[in-house]
């Protein structure tokens, strides 16, 4: 028993394990950060998977043609945002049901990305470069973690901090939350509900696209149709898991990443933990968190926007 614990601990606290967890968590964090803002504005976009895979396809195409990771990442952002613009037009412009439009967006994104990416399947690009700062990166153990991965990883952390600052420390963030909590009141106060929501949706699309571009530029630098393999849906679950709070979103994303990598890495140790149980842990955790927050009120409870998923037509 003690022997097993020692094995588990030496595994968990190895640099390579932590780096693998970081890589696995980053696309989830990027996509979920965007969706968090979208949902805080009161819109439920179920099309993350579609926007992510579009970002993966266009990001790869951009990087392949330009030879630059940065241009690839920008292409991914633009592709995700462009697809979300379709969603914005449908749900905000035409007041279509958000659930139906979001699902359609996923199907559209999966199909369209396959078409765009078809010519790039099997092509090679240079993997996104790892950052290097003299002295800092050379630090033993923590150096590689602190500043030795690619820029996506550190950008994702900066992004969620920026989102927290925006939501809780700026007036614009306050307005966005107000729109999400009660669009009728926000409208009566003179705030442009639909415009704010449109910007939020575009932002969410860009984040999902960037998350997808991370997959095809840094995680596994190639493009294959369907390579997001359901990560968009996990990102969606993460927003619920976080109870719509940025801080918990980071914890959730890294917890999901850690548990899923642990589920893989523990198997060869033959500790007798059924791998099916390990694989279901992230989802089990989501259910438990949902139960807990549903029983908690006040600042520790859920920040679920009251108008989430509701259609808003200004004149009504």
């Amino acid at each position: 028993m003690l022997d097993a614990l020692v094995q588990i601990f030496s595994l968990i606290f190895s640099v390579n394990f932590i780096l693998t967890v970081i890589t696995a968590s980053t696309p989830l964090l990027l996509a979920a950060s965007g969706e968090l803002v979208v949902e805080r504005s009161g819109v439920l976009n179920l099309g993350i998977e579609g926007m992510m895979i579009m970002g993966a396809a266009c990001g790869f195409a951009g990087a392949f043609m330009s030879g630059s990771t940065l241009i690839g990442a920008l292409c991914g952002i633009v592709a995700g945002a462009a697809l979300s613009a379709v969603f914005a037009f449908l749900t905000l412009g035409l007041a279509v049901n958000q659930v139906a439009a979001g699902l359609a967006l996923t199907i559209l994104g999966v199909g369209l990305s396959g078409l765009i990416g078809a010519g790039f399947v099997g092509e090679q690009i240079v993997q996104a470069p790892r950052l290097y700062l003299p002295i800092l990166t050379d630090l033993p153990v923590i150096g590689r973690i602190l500043i030795g991965e690619d820029a996506f990883v550190y950008f994702s952390i900066a992004l969620i901090i920026a989102i927290w600052l925006f939501l809780y420390r700026t007036r614009a963030g306050l307005v966005l939350r107000a729109v999400g909590d009660n669009h009728t009141s926000a409208h009566a106060l003179g705030y442009p509900v639909l415009n704010i929501r449109m910007l939020a949706v575009l932002f969410g699309g860009g984040c999902a696209g960037l998350g997808g571009a991370f997959l095809s530029l840094a995680y596994t630098p190639f493009f294959i149709p369907g390579m997001t393999a359901g990560r968009g849906w996990i990102a969606l679950a993460l927003v619920v898991f976080s109870s719509w709070r940025p801080g918990r979103l980071v914890i959730g994303a890294y917890l999901f990443g850690a548990v899923s990598i642990l589920g893989l890495a523990l198997q060869p140790l033959q500790l007798g933990v059924p791998q099916q149980l390990m694989n279901s842990l992230p989802y089990l955790a989501t259910v438990i968190v949902l139960v807990l927050i549903s029983r908690t009120r006040g600042t520790a409870g859920s920040a679920a926007p009251a108008s989430l998923g509701l259609v808003f037509v200004p004149d009504r």
Binding site: S14, N16, F17, T20, T23, A24, P27, V110, G111, L112, S113, G114, L115, G117, A118, V121, G122, Q124, Q127, L215, Y219, T220, P221, F222, I224, P225, G226, M227, A229, G230, R231, S260, I261, L264, A265, Q267, P268, L269, Q270, G272, P274, Q275, Q276, N279
Partner: protein
Amino acid sequence: MKKWNIVAVAAVLALAAVTFGTTYAAEKLKVGFIYTGPIGDLGWSYQHDVGRKAMEKALGDKVESTFLENVPEGPDAERSIEQLARSGHKLIFTTSFGFMDATLKVANKYPNVFFEHATGFKRAKNMSTYAARFYEGRYIQGQIAAKMSKTGVIGYIVSFPIPEVISNINATMLGAQSVNPNMKVKIIWVNSWFDPGKEADAAKALIDQGADMITQHTDSPAATQIAEQRGIHSFGESSDMIKFGPKAQLTADTDYWGGYYTKRAQDVLDGKWKSEDTWGGLDSGMVVMAPYTNMPDDVKKMAMDTQAAIKSGKFHPFKCPITDQDGKTVECKGGDHLDPGQILSMNWYVKGIDDKIPGK
């Protein structure tokens, strides 16, 4: 994506068949394919699609084909298979183990349509099975791995504990043990045929735990790419993945289905189609080894010799006696080797594998 074009085309064709009657449809044989992954996976589904195209090329305008990709395994597949059966396809290939029960169900419903299910074991009057003896290539890979490995550990990324996967792990280990009896294998189940990110994560975990040979029974080239990055060796799966690991890939166990698909379609055209079980290997050209690369000449020679011996039938990878994980000698039903039934229903590990089959 092509899928939607095809669905649209299939829908239009179905409509056309209804509108214009069956006079046109009778002239061309419509052949349908169900793939579990995207045809761009560069692995399993891709190779089946290569086979489909080879069939179209060989038979010209006598056939036309339709494929549905990304079809989930399990009960849901029934709808997709039935969709093809209803839209006038007379020969339908379902190309993954998980389509077995769904194919049988639809086959019973449409007695005039011929079905072909890959890698399964259930047949009917109008349902054949076909598979490739991948384990032949796996045995060779095991031998190469044992020769090339410095750490003595093979890392094996696997999808689901079905007999085909288990028999391939066993063949790899039997091959490895024939060279070095102390070879170890570390196994990670990723519970998916296709998830590049997860496959890459599994490869990293295996390498971190000492494996310096990576092989897989999943469909994307992600693991080969990781092997290349980490400067170790790997084996491609289903298709040649040398592009993703020019220095890493030693060989690949690739599948060529074109010959089989052409023959079966021709059989239908000639009215000679019969329900049967086809299991082709290196001898029939259904299993082809990608070029042996990145290895010294003596290892290459050993691989080629084994390949020739298996091909000519002189050697069988599951040659008896075989001892299972618990040390019991396995009953030998095929004379001096295991019989096909034993291999196709394999649910036990050979001696020397330190893993537990999930769910067992």
